[in-house]
Amino acid sequence: MGSTAFDPLTFGYEWETFLTGRNMIPIKSDEVKRLGRKLQAEIPETRTGTDHIRGLDSKFLEIRSGILSDYQGLDGRTREIIGAIKRVCREKDLVFFPLGSHPLFGKAAGYHLHVGSVYSLKVAQDLARSLTPYVPLIAAFMANSPFWGISEPPGGFKSYRVKYFADWCSTVIVPVERGLGQFVWGNDVLVKGIEKPTVEIRVMDSPLSVSLLAEASIFIVALTLNLAERHGSGMIDRNTYMEYVVNRRRAARWGLQALFDWRGERVPASDILEELVGSVLPAARKLGLDGFELLEKMVRKRVTQADFLLSLYDGGDLHVYTRDLGNLLERERDPFMDFLEEAPELPVAEAESAEDMILSHITIETPFRLLYESLEFPYDFIEDVVEEFRKRGLVKVSRAPEKGILLTRIR
């Protein structure tokens, strides 16, 4: 690999956003489509359109940046698109609502960043693998979905979207031996190779802050560039892979307060990000960004967009809150920036172990299927942990020919 991996270095995003009526309920699919077409016609360099929302009779307005090469292009193009969207929304009494989930329905909205142009599938796979350990960190600082309808407590997770694998659209990376790669859709990081010459990072929640969108994108592109210059295969050992899987869950729960397992030690996510921000800065400068002002503030306070959303919520009716939030987002250009100035510093959270995560999901006759679907830890790992629980008398294991393994908590 190397910077010769890119021919040339380009990037672009797909940003899934909700469009709602005045009542904050997502509008019908046809209306979103019409709007998407209008926007694409107005700003032809973008490919803005729509995308499917699982289980909802509506669609995302998917803002697609088109192909970019530097920070100025990214920021300028984004602000141009947002300006057009907000103008159309004012004309049509709609609300532009970019969050990682809709507070009333759940439903995951993501931000997918493509880094390219990588024409070698071998190189693209090496690059995707190299990104794996950093995925939880990216999920942590982009957390923006602390609400998930009434079935989950507000703030129980800073990113319910990552907890729920973005409705199966950003799932745990399936490790593949080098030389045996195949197309796997929907992982946190994806080699688009057969379709587009890019590596796609999909784990991010849809951001409400345009400034964070820009800084985060340049950070990830710069990180990818640095990894490319290491000329590594990206192959990771079992321990590193398990760190990724477990850190991912902690990132979803705690955002930048998370405590990660990092190269065999416990390290706050904020410390890792602080170090990385410094190390990718030279690459970022080449892309036209002089400094990560926003990320540095977030790191100092361990604060995310999810914390901003939670700071405004008083525990009352979620629909009332959603409408009030919609007013704020319409009124202010980037309310997250102001919040960051006033936000208090948050402490580092305790690290829940993988074993505790598994045990907390076991109730009465819990199917193994449900355990796997909730955590996406490797089968063998879950099996070994469950066997240990059985030996310690914590769970009872039974077998059912039509349901598989069933687990019941004893104590």
């Binding site: 005045r22 009542n23 904050m24 309920i25 997502p26 509008i27 019908k28 289980g55 909802l56 009779d57 509506s58 009333l104 329905f105 759940g106 998930w148 309808g149 009434i150 079935s151 989950e152 729920y164 409705d167 199966w168 700071s311 405004l312 008083d314 009716d317 629909h319 009332v320 959603t322 409408r323 009030d324 939030l325 919609g326 007013n327 704020l328 319409e330 009124r331 202010e332 309310p335 102001d338 109730t363 009465i364 006759e365 819990t366 199917p367 299927r369 449900l370 679907e373 909730s374």
Partner: protein, 409 residues
């Protein structure tokens, strides 16, 4: 859970602080959600509301707010209103801004929503509510409120019948509802026994012209994760499905049973020992079970009926709650504790089962009893396997145990 969309006409800060007390004058401009229809006369009304707001979130003149049921109450006032002698009354029990018709007996209470598909909205037994929940926003045009409703179209929820407005009349023991939709005249008769926890719902479809009818019921039950169990008697043995909270559709298939052996389903909360038996006058062709966040649904479908003009197809549902249950491949039964006699009384059974053992495990064909009061489990039961479809009235004889001479529990 009625809500409305309001436009802010005026905003007055009453007390300033980190969180300020604000009075807003609002005009009601529409629905907060398409499934939450505004009662007549509400749109266009003005309302002052008082709220506490953090500074940045304070709405401004011209912006929009969502008004809650508590805030709308002064405009939507429904007092409890008797409808017929005895315990029948009209009251808005689910706070949707419309009155439900409510029946009460000493142990059981239910509510029907004539304005919304004649849905059986609430069923409460000894303080346990089986159906009515907080309201889960499932889709842009559907909110899950819980309950039992009728369907004749394919789809997961909603549909023409579940939002149909019915006319109704009430006498002491029965509510009768009529409506029209999709080429059918629909009649529903809902009856609550006075001294016995049995609720029956008769639904009749009369074809206005030659038509095909694919009728299915959707029972949306409040789930208690890990504790709610659904029992379905299948031809090859009893199917037990335990409700677990899962937000997403599983990667794997939804449960569907197309081999029912008895026209009944049992839903149980194991920890509380309270169960609900649903009995049908016809054997369902298929029963689907789905999990929807805090609810789960049981959906018996009765197959296609081809009707000539004016021909009627009728479906009867019996709902029998009780304090514990027994179940096996041949048996679905619910018991109630008779406080006066301090013993357990069999109150519903599709079959009875012979057993000499006092305690057996609940698996397959064996039976378990939770002990309440004086039951010692040593009684003999007459074995009588009942696999014929029965009229519900005839089945109710079995339910009372009269034809089996069951007593002396």
């Amino acid at each position: 859970m009625l809500k409305a969309l309001g436009k802010v006409i005026e905003s007055v800060e009453v007390e300033k602080g980190e969180a300020s007390l604000v009075r807003l004058r609002t005009r009601i401009v529409g629905e907060a959600h398409p499934a939450l229809k505004l009662p007549p006369g509400l749109k266009g009304r003005y309302l002052w509301v008082e709220r506490i707001y953090r500074d940045r979130l304070k709405p401004r003149k011209g912006e929009f707010v969502v008004l809650t049921y508590e805030e709308l109450r002064e405009l939507v006032r429904y007092r409890r209103e008797p409808l017929a002698p005895g315990k029948v009354f009209r009251e808005d029990v689910d706070a949707d801004g419309y009155s439900e018709v409510n029946f009460e007996s000493d142990v059981l209470r239910f509510s029907v929503a004539p304005h919304r598909g004649a849905t059986l909205r609430s069923l409460e037994y000894r303080g346990k509510e089986f159906f009515m929940g907080k309201g889960e926003y499932l889709n842009v045009n559907y909110i899950e409120l819980g309950g039992v409703d009728d369907h004749i179209e394919s789809g997961k929820y909603g549909g023409a019948l579940s939002s149909l407005k019915y006319e109704y009349e009430v006498d002491e023991g029965e509510i009768r509802l009529t409506g029209r939709a999709k080429g059918f005249e629909i009649e529903k008769a809902i009856n609550l026994e006075r001294d016995f926890p049995l609720l029956t719902v008769r639904t009749s479809f009369k074809a206005r012209k030659k038509a095909e009818l694919n009728y299915w019921m959707r029972m949306a039950v409040r789930g208690v994760p890990g504790r709610s169990v659904i029992l379905l008697p299948a031809r090859d043995g009893l199917v037990r499905e335990r409700y677990h909270f899962q937000y997403l559709d599983s990667l794997f298939r939804v449960l569907e049973i197309s081999r029912m052996s008895l026209p009944g389903i049992l839903v149980l909360d194991e920890a509380e020992g309270v169960s609900l038996l649903a009995v049908f006058s016809r054997l369902p062709e298929n029963v689907a079970y789905r999990s929807y966040g805090t609810f789960f649904t049981v959906e018996p479908a009765f197959g296609k009926a081809s009707l000539k003009k004016s021909e009627i197809s009728q479906y009867v549902l019996g709902l029998i709650p009780g304090t514990f249950y027994s179940a096996s491949g041949f048996h679905l039964g619910v018991f109630d504790f008779d406080g006066e006699k301090e013993r357990n009384r069999l109150i519903s059974s599709l079959v009875t089962v012979e057993s000499r053992a006092p305690e057996l495990l609940l698996k397959g064909k064996r039976i378990s009893y939770s002990r309440i009061g004086g039951f010692d489990g040593t009684h003999l039961w007459k074995l009588d396997v009942d696999t014929e479809e029965r009229d519900l009235e005839e089945a109710s004889l079995l339910i009372r145990g009269e034809s089996h001479g069951i007593d002396g529990l």
